[in-house]
């Protein structure tokens, strides 16, 4: 699956982009931007997960379920076991969300279109209800998360950022490897014609289930990293339906052409939000919404389609 993965153009571009982001943000850009990159990259993982589903024509309106589950897994492991190691945090978030996704996948893999979207929304709101009611989980106040460590040493924000970038590269490269495998190629095939795929001898439900679990893992990891980089989790900003909506929105805004697209989209989203908040504290939501609308109107293929046009990037890949 991973053979020749580093010869893949997308992977190369991704690695170069991530490393240059690290270098530029450490040396040239002001410190605060690193926060936005950190949030953008973390959230980008969840967007990558949604993009995977989208390739099979499945839109989940409940991905905040895994996003929040990962974040709360990190928070609870700190509260009850004192775990603050970033490697453990990331692993716990991914595994916890993956397990939940595996269980729910048995139900969800049978549904398509609006039924899939609404059912996933329902599941996420169940978790939201539980978290908002349970006082020992902090109810709507949530919980604060102490700064991350690595092998017992406290991490500075700078190193946390590097590590997040590292996790993101690993995750994105694995996803590219998955997309290049037979299972990955099935995704678009399922989108085109499910019955044909079945006749080719593949189980559509199984393929979707696997994809769903991968997507859940990514969203969980995103939540875990977000929790670690923000230092706070609460149901309203991690699990509520509008968080799911936001994730879907960024997915559409980013476009689905490439594994790099979600990260660029998510970073741009963070910057739009930061500046909107600064310029118009009373009308920031309208600015964010307006920008997203404009992108959808004028660039239906998302931000990635702009990049493709500018760099002529996608065409080259097609020729190959």
């Amino acid at each position: 699956m991973f053979t020749g993965i580093f010869k893949d153009t997308s992977v190369r571009v991704l690695i170069v982009f991530m490393i240059s982001l690290c270098v530029i943000s450490s040396f040239i850009l002001p410190d605060w931007m690193q926060n936005n990159f950190m949030y953008g990259l973390s959230r980008g993982l969840a967007i990558l997960g949604l993009m995977l589903l989208w390739r099979t024509n499945l839109v989940s309106f409940g991905h905040a379920l895994y996003y929040g589950f990962g974040a709360y897994a990190v928070a609870l492991c700190q509260k009850y076991f004192g775990i603050t190691d970033i490697l453990l945090r990331f692993t716990i978030a991914v595994v916890a969300a993956g397990l939940l996704g595996f269980c729910l996948g048995f139900i969800l893999r049978k549904y398509r279109e609006i039924f899939f979207a609404m059912l996933s929304l329902a599941f996420s709101m169940v978790l939201y209800g539980l978290l908002a009611k349970a006082e020992f989980l902090g109810s709507t106040d949530g919980m604060s998360i102490s700064p991350s460590t690595l092998f017992g040493l406290e991490l500075t924000r700078q190193y946390l950022f590097f590590l997040i970038t590292f996790f993101v590269i690993c995750a994105a490269v694995s996803i590219q490897a998955y997309l290049r495998s037979t299972l990955g190629h099935l995704t678009t095939a399922i989108q085109d014609n499910e019955i044909r795929v079945e006749f080719l001898g593949f189980s559509v439900q199984k393929a979707i289930h696997i994809k769903y679990v991968i997507s859940a893992c990514l969203a969980g990891g995103a939540g875990g990293l977000m929790a670690a980089s923000l230092g706070q989790v609460d149901p309203d900003s991690m699990v509520n339906w509008n968080v799911s909506g936001e994730l879907v929105f960024i997915t559409i805004m980013s476009g689905w052409g490439n594994i790099l697209a979600p990260f660029i989209g998510a970073i741009i989203f963070e910057f739009i939000r930061t500046y909107a908040f600064e310029w118009a504290p009373q009308a920031w939501a309208a600015i964010v919404g307006g920008t997203l609308l404009a992108i959808i109107f004028f660039f239906p293929g998302g931000i990635w389609s702009i990049i493709e046009k500018v760099f002529n990037y996608g065409k080259k890949k097609d020729v190959k």
């Binding site: 270098v23 040396f27 040239i28 002001p30 410190d31 605060w32 931007m33 926060n35 949030y39 908002a132 009611k133 006082e135 109810s139 709507t140 106040d141 949530g142 604060s144 102490s146 700064p147 923000l230 230092g231 706070q232 989790v233 609460d234 309203d236 900003s237 991690m238 930061t274 908040f277 600064e278 504290p281 009373q282 920031w284 939501a285």
Partner: protein, 438 residues
């Protein structure tokens, strides 16, 4: 090849760092302005009755101090001589989002201090981050006692007393005014503020009126729900006559309107610990005879207070915004006063423009004159204010056409707060030793 690029990057980096350090040095020495983030709800259900009046209260005091037009003892212009440049920001969106914004304020906007925060949930989220980023933060309104009882904070101050006093004063008022009512219940929002408020009301009632009994069905709807049909039915069926509520924001308005049409307030003694702002918002529509608090001697209960600062504040507020100042207006204005007081004190001590550490040292344990009383930062290691808390019965003033209150009783801080260093819950359960109530 690689080495070449590295060299180039180092050059660019060192050049830009040089520029940046020059810029930074420039801002650090020329202190004719202090940049302060002022955070309150500017959108959502809590904006109208809480966030916006809070911002307006802060604006009046900031402008007056910047121009040197504030009455004594704040008549000296500026904050340690510097003008305040406030950046108003929105508090909505939950704790996690606010933490992100707080980091932006510190690292991007490079503020000198942060003032504000209404929601207890946000304060609990911001507290640890403020200490981590070493940013002087003055909380204005939020009331959860957990903020300092869980951990002392190095960079966080709060100029508003916590929920313990609000709830205990409510329990005192009930036992003083309605000694025969033994059954009580409550409707509170299901988060730190609501949970704590009801918990301390219940603990207080148990101590002050030992044969009283709390309902086994107190209601805890979610914050900002706005629909209380089922809860009102449940409370109406409950035999408990006293109903405690710490609703604030749009929720108290919504609840009042929905309960009123069902004759709820005729059947029950409704105790609202923060509803004062809704009284003004609903004006003459607000029912009379509700036990109303404003979390201190402010807002509705301070309308007739003749202290010069209070008279000035009400007059200025009316002139500029054509409205009366509400509780949150006072609370935010008070935080600004505390900040000025500490800045001036630190400057007098240091002899030059004070550093943040000097301001923090100066702010500890201060007693500063607020609008209606002198407030001392006597708890939470000198970081937490205590002040008196009062309750009264709402009574619309038909002559003046303004909402008002009658039978107001103020309870001093020694009556309703535990002594420094004692946990509220332990103190109440021990029978509130040393409490001095007049």
């Amino acid at each position: 090849m690689k080495i070449k690029i590295f060299n180039k990057t180092t050059k660019v980096a060192s050049a830009s760092m040089l520029v940046a350090s020059c810029l930074l040095a420039g801002t650090a020495f020329a202190k004719d302005t202090v940049k302060v983030g002022v955070v309150s709800f500017l959108t959502g259900p809590a904006a109208g009755v809480f966030g916006v009046p809070a911002k307006q209260g802060a604006q009046i005091v900031i402008d007056a101090i910047n121009n040197g037009t504030m009455p004594a003892p704040y008549n000296k212009q500026g904050f340690a001589g510097a003008k305040m440049n406030p950046i108003f920001s929105d508090e909505s969106g939950g704790g996690t989002k606010q933490v992100g914004l707080f980091r932006d304020f510190v690292e991007k906007q490079k503020v000198d201090a942060m003032i504000g925060y209404i929601s207890s949930g946000n304060c609990m989220a911001i507290g640890p981050i403020a200490d981590e980023l070493k940013m002087l933060t003055v909380f204005s309104t939020c009331g959860t006692p957990r903020l300092y009882e869980e951990k002392l904070r190095s960079h966080v101050f709060r100029t508003q007393a916590n929920a313990v006093g609000d709830s205990l004063a409510a329990a005192r008022y009930i036992t003083d005014m309605y000694p025969n009512e033994k059954n009580y219940t409550g409707i509170n929002q299901n988060y730190a503020w609501g949970q704590d408020s009801y918990k301390f009301f219940e603990l207080g009632m148990k101590q002050m009126s030992p044969d009283s009994k709390g309902s086994d069905k107190p209601q805890f709807p979610k914050l900002f729900v706005g629909q209380y049909g089922t809860e009102i039915s449940a409370l109406s069926l409950d035999k408990a006559k006293v109903v405690h509520s710490s609703f604030w924001d749009g929720d108290i308005e919504a609840f009042t309107l929905q309960a009123m049409v069902r004759g709820f307030f005729q059947k029950k003694i409704f105790v609202s610990s923060v509803g004062g702002s809704a009284v003004d918002a609903l004006d003459k529509k607000f029912p009379d005879g509700i036990v109303m608090g404003t979390r201190g001697n402010v807002g509705l209960l301070a309308r007739d207070d003749k202290s010069p600062l209070n008279v000035w504040f009400i007059k200025e507020y009316k002139k500029r915004f054509n409205a009366l100042p509400l509780g949150p207006s006072y609370q935010y204005a008070r935080s600004i006063l505390a900040y000025k007081f500490a800045m001036d004190k630190a400057m007098a001590k240091a002899g030059s423009f004070p550093t943040q550490d000097q301001v923090i040292a100066a702010m500890k344990n201060i007693k500063f004159k607020s609008f209606t009383e002198t407030i001392s930062m006597a708890r939470g290691g000198g970081h937490q204010a205590v002040h008196s808390v009062g309750y009264g019965l709402t009574k619309y003033n038909k002559k003046g056409k303004t909402p008002g209150a009658e039978k107001v009783k103020m309870y001093g801080p020694e009556c309703i707060y535990p002594p420094a260093g004692t946990k509220s819950e332990d103190w109440i359960n021990a029978g509130m030793p040393g409490a001095k109530c007049n």
